[in-house]
């Protein structure tokens, strides 16, 4: 059945493509709501200071200013995606803790007037010493950023007997790896329009990945009943995890709207995005691995220090997740994991595609390459020897179902020309690195569930309205769901109207993160469409005088299997149902089948399926300048079943390029808490001339639980890239770089030290 599909596996152009290509798609900055005011935020110029006084009186008097709010207005509110960890006030109350921390805000008739007024808000500070390095922050005499101390959490987990296993190892490898703060660099800066009308109805137009959970967060923080809160996700210029929580600007806009009764728009400038937007958490990873001389991994002892930044966001959950990933890819029976998540006076991190996996995979996969060299083994053989396979349990109890890892490794290695290019003299080299990542979300953040609810109705002409609480953030989920519905119902993709993103008109779904939407929402769509198909087929069996079991719905008609002339169009069936008062509606609510709630040891819940992949990269290193040219990039990904090859390639190519940036050039640079590269000129993300063609190879392991066997691909695209590049650099010129980004300067320094 799967091979005979009309919509599944086809290169269907995305259903919102024309709107985007003609400039008619409306993003947040394109919206004009009647009566809208423009908000601007006053931000702290100091990384750490007490606030002695905030005087907005002069600003309030400026012509065209409609409201000014300060910490007095938002007093007591604390924000964090994990509510009980919330320690970020929307506007500072007694202290500011990083340069850019929000202090006050103005709503005015224009952005110009708002900016003018900001200059008139008087703030008295008492500067405090700042601490910018997590190791410094952990010292007993370090200045305290928060009352409870500078360590947000200490995590300690242990499985099996690590000390004994290390003792039994023939070799123990101990290495330190360091990763940097990577920015999402969404082309569209973050923003919102918030309107609290005088009836007490709250509408928030916003770029969010999680409309329904976000609605609940708003309702909780603002103590409002949910039926009074509406979240409208608009077209988004990128997400990548950067819009996976509540940002202070939304609460600030709320209070401005509350004071004025009017909609208030706040959009960050790109400068604000660079200096105050969420980042990938920088980590220092000490990894000790014990192996037998035949390559069997016995134990892994990992210590992580996460630079949390000034406030809590996803840092704790990400760091917990890193712990599980210590035994993800390669089967390791004894694992110990210790981690500290530490506050510093810098911008705080958040979720970013990969959720901690890029950091730990950089460490693990670099070390595997080093281990293989010491043991005299080809790294590919070392990997295959220790790989998790389908049906296995990791030592932390995670079950691997479908697994295409071996195929990914074999295919990537062949496509890059491993045999011809590995360990050859000269300045070129090849390296590989693999990944294992959640392929369908995880029971982690929003209670003991990982669900999606979908409503579908078939109109009386056979076309479809599909309503889901998912979020289309550019990855193409709307189109993929339309393909699944089209396949199930035998209609065309263009017959389907996909409605997502508005909490008023859509049912519950946890949103776009954890690479979950295709798996979870896709299954829900299948269920809902299945209900409709059954009713269609029942009616058609009456119309055709045939048995329902013998009928197929495909290519816009229902026909008898083996006798396609005996058919009736779906439109006719739909009209007949309508005339007979039979409603063609279906509902599918899918919650993933993993049954365990968040593990008390890992803090992580079950993952319904895992995505796998291998990146193979060829580089050429200029020994005089340290520059790295990527000559070839092969990305083999186990996607379960490809629903839309064109969009899947897009995820791999886009993710791969973000991975190359993470590996070679991106990273915020700070000095005493000041961001030194807050623009695209100096924060180096790649332009079109910098990039190689990325070759995608899809491995289809056909997941038993995914819709048509599909599993997620949103995040895996960049998880192993940095390690593959590091391994290729080592193969090329014999230097091992253990800190990201691997700039020419670092490589040149390492080459000189080697001489």
């Amino acid at each position: 059945m799967v091979d005979d599909c009309s919509a599944i596996g086809k290169r269907v152009p995305r259903i919102d493509g024309i709107e985007k290509a003609t400039g008619t798609a409306k993003y947040l900055g394109d919206l004009k709501i009647a009566g809208m005011l423009y908000g601007k935020i006053l931000r702290s110029p100091y990384p750490h200071a007490k606030i002695l006084k905030v005087d907005p009186s002069k600003a309030e008097k400026v012509k065209g200013v409609r409201a000014v709010v300060t910490g007095k207005d938002t007093k007591g509110i604390r924000l964090c995606v994990i509510p009980h960890l919330g320690n970020k006030p929307p506007l500072a109350e007694d202290k500011v803790r990083f340069i850019g921390d929000e202090i006050a805000a103005v709503a005015a008739d224009s952005e110009e007037i708002a900016e003018e007024a900001l200059d008139l808000i008087e703030v008295e500070y008492e500067e405090l010493p700042g601490v910018f390095d997590p190791f410094e922050a952990m010292k007993a005499d370090a200045v305290k950023i928060h009352e409870g101390g500078n360590t947000a959490i200490h995590i300690s987990r242990s499985y099996g007997d690590v000390e004994k296993a290390l003792g039994e190892s023939d070799h123990v490898f101990e290495d330190r790896f360091e990763t940097q703060a990577q920015l999402h660099c969404c082309l569209e800066p973050h923003g919102c329009i918030v309107h609290l009308d005088r009836s007490g109805n709250l509408t928030v137009w916003i770029t969010t990945q999680i409309p329904h959970p976000y609605r609940k967060m708003l309702a909780d923080v603002l103590r409002m009943p949910l039926n009074k809160v509406r979240v409208v996700k608009v077209f988004m210029g990128g997400g990548f995890g950067g819009r996976f929580e509540m940002d202070p600007i939304e609460i600030i806009a709320y209070f401005l709207s509350k004071k004025t009764g009017r909609p208030v728009r706040i959009i960050n400038t790109q400068d604000e995005q660079f200096t105050t937007g969420r980042t990938r958490y920088p980590m220092v990873i000490d990894i000790k691995t014990g192996v037998k001389k035949d390559g069997t991994i016995l134990a892994r002892d990992v210590k992580v220090v996460t630079d949390n930044g000034a406030y809590n966001s996803h840092g704790i959950t990400i760091t917990m997740g890193v712990g599980t990933k210590c035994t993800y890819l390669w089967s390791v029976p004894h694992v110990r994991y210790e981690a500290d998540v530490v506050f510093t006076n810098k911008v705080y991190g958040g979720a970013f595609r990969g959720y901690g996996n890029p950091q730990i995979t950089f460490a693990i996969e670099s070390q595997m390459d080093m281990i293989s060299e010491k043991l005299g083994m080809d790294v590919k053989d070392l990997c295959l020897k220790n790989a998790n396979y389908g049906g296995q349990l990791t030592c932390m109890g995670h079950k691997v179902t479908s697994c295409g890892l071996k195929d990914c490794i074999d295919k990537a290695v062949e496509a890059i020309g491993w045999k011809e290019k590995r360990r050859k003299p000269g300045d070129r080299g090849v390296g590989i690195a693999s990944l294992m990542h959640t392929g369908g979300g995880v029971r982690l953040l929003f209670g003991d569930c990982n669900l999606s609810d979908v409503f579908i109705k078939m109109n009386n002409d056979g076309t479809i309205d599909l309503s889901s609480g998912m979020a289309e953030i550019g990855q193409g989920s709307d189109t993929a769901l339309a393909q699944i519905a089209a396949e199930e119902l035998g209609v065309r993709v263009e017959d389907i109207n996909v409605m997502t993103g508005d909490t008023w008109t859509t049912p519950q779904c946890l949103g776009a993160w954890g690479s979950r939407e295709l798996f979870v929402a896709g299954n829900a769509v299948k269920m809902a469409a299945g209900e409709i198909r059954q009713k269609l087929v029942e009616e058609a069996s009456r119309m055709l005088e045939a048995r329902a079991d013998d009928l197929i719905a495909k290519e816009q008609k229902v026909y008898v299997r083996g006798n396609p002339q005996k058919s009736v169009s779906i439109a006719q069936v739909a009209m007949t149902c309508y005339n007979r008062g039979r409603i063609l509606a279906g509902r599918g609510c899918y919650d993933d089948p993993t049954t365990y709630i968040p593990d008390s040891k890992t803090g992580y819940g079950g993952v319904p399926t895992y995505a796998f992949g291998t990146h193979a990269i060829e580089v050429e290193v200029d020994r005089k300048t340290g520059e790295v040219k990527v000559l070839d990039f092969v990305a083999a990904h186990d996607v379960g079943k490809v629903i839309n090859p064109m969009m899947a390639e897009g995820q791999i190519e886009g993710g791969g390029l973000q991975g190359l940036g993470y590996a070679l050039s991106e990273g915020l640079v700070w000095e005493e808490g000041i961001v030194l590269n807050p623009n695209f000129q100096d924060y180096r993300i790649f332009y079109i001339n910098d990039v190689p063609r990325i070759k995608s190879i899809m491995v289809e392991s056909i997941d038993p639980d995914g819709p048509y066997g599909a599993k997620g691909l949103g995040e895996p695209g960049l998880v192993p890239t940095a390690a593959a590049v590091a391994n290729a650099i080592y193969d090329a010129v014999g230097v091992r770089i253990k800190s990201l980004p691997m700039t020419p300067e670092k490589i040149l320094r390492a080459l000189k030290e080697k001489e």
Binding site: D271, K624, T625, E627, S665, V669, L676, N677, Q681, D682, R684, F686, Y687, N689, D690, T743, P744, E745, L748
Partner: protein, 292 residues
């Protein structure tokens, strides 16, 4: 941006008068790509902008007996695509191609780039190596000023308050002379140079001796810098394989390079050596009729 008044003179002399009248409060705008960006970031806030684009006949690219003259309003793109520039001073067209992006080059002017005086300006090193001059206009009249004396500090030039650049004069390379510009960046396009090296060799036709040279370094100091000691070592010599690396090492010791978020001083020093060596070899290759 803060409010300002846009003044639209019809002649360059009128523009000078306006600059003199408004003093510190006025700035000249040509293409505007650099200035508008600074104004939006609130780093400069002139109350008056003297808009040169209304002045006619400043967009020329002309050939003289021994040099190219480029008007102050000629855009970088026009220079890049000019068949005159490509034929007579190919190295200038090559260098302009590395600046920014097509959109910026469609609007930005060469004169504007030079007056902005970014330490990493691409035109500056190569034009200095070619011996370029600027003709500038003030209320007192016109004067010609060597480009080598034009840059005084980070973003500062030798222009007096009411002076405006009218044209750039670039001598052609005589027979036997070649020049190259090498730009070291992290990304292929768009980046400002970490180090920009211009090398000009004047070779004797008889015995392959280098009679004279200019080695100009951009992006490493507050202004472009000539590596005069290195130039001295090339003078009168045959440029053999052992001399060139030595000369490059000397060039790298002639300046204490700046340090910034793009690169450390030490790395810049190392790159000066690498690119001076590469630059001399490439210029020599071109002078010997090699592939360019």
């Amino acid at each position: 941006m803060k409010r300002f008044e846009l003044l639209e003179p019809n002649s360059i002399e009128e523009a000078c008068r306006l600059l003199s009248q408004y003093g510190e409060e006025a700035k000249v705008i040509a293409g505007g790509t650099a200035l508008v960006k600074l104004m939006k970031k609130r780093l400069v806030h002139p109350s008056y902008l003297v808009n040169m684009k209304g002045v006619k006949d400043l967009g020329f690219i002309r050939e003289g007996k021994d040099r190219l003259t480029i008007g102050a309003l000629a855009t970088l793109r026009e220079i890049e695509k000019s068949s005159l520039v490509r034929q007579r001073l190919q190295v200038v067209a090559e260098m302009v191609h590395t600046i920014g992006s097509v959109q910026i080059r469609n609007v930005g002017t060469l004169a504007g780039n030079l007056c902005f005086a970014d330490p990493a300006s691409d035109p500056a090193p190569i034009l200095i190596a070619l011996g370029a001059n600027l003709k500038v206009v003030s209320l007192e009249g016109r004067r010609v000023l060597p480009l080598e004396e034009f840059f005084t500090d980070f973003y500062e030039t030798a222009l007096s308050r009411d002076e405006i650049v009218e044209e750039i004069q670039i001598p052609f390379l005589p027979r036997g002379s070649e020049a190259v510009y090498l730009k070291h960046t992290m990304r292929v396009a768009f980046d400002l140079a970490i180090v920009g090296v211009a090398v000009r060799l004047d070779m004797s036709s008889k015995d392959g001796v280098c009679m004279n040279s200019k080695i100009v370094l951009g992006g490493v100091g507050s202004t472009p810098v000539r590596a005069k000691k290195a130039e001295g070592l090339l003078k009168g010599k045959v440029l053999g394989d052992s001399l060139i690396p030595e000369v490059a090492v000397v060039a790298s010791t002639e300046i204490d390079p700046i340090q910034d978020v793009r690169a450390s001083a030490e790395y810049r020093r190392e790159m000066i050596e690498v690119f001076v060596e590469r630059g001399i070899k490439e210029a020599l290759d071109r002078a010997n009729g090699g592939a360019s």
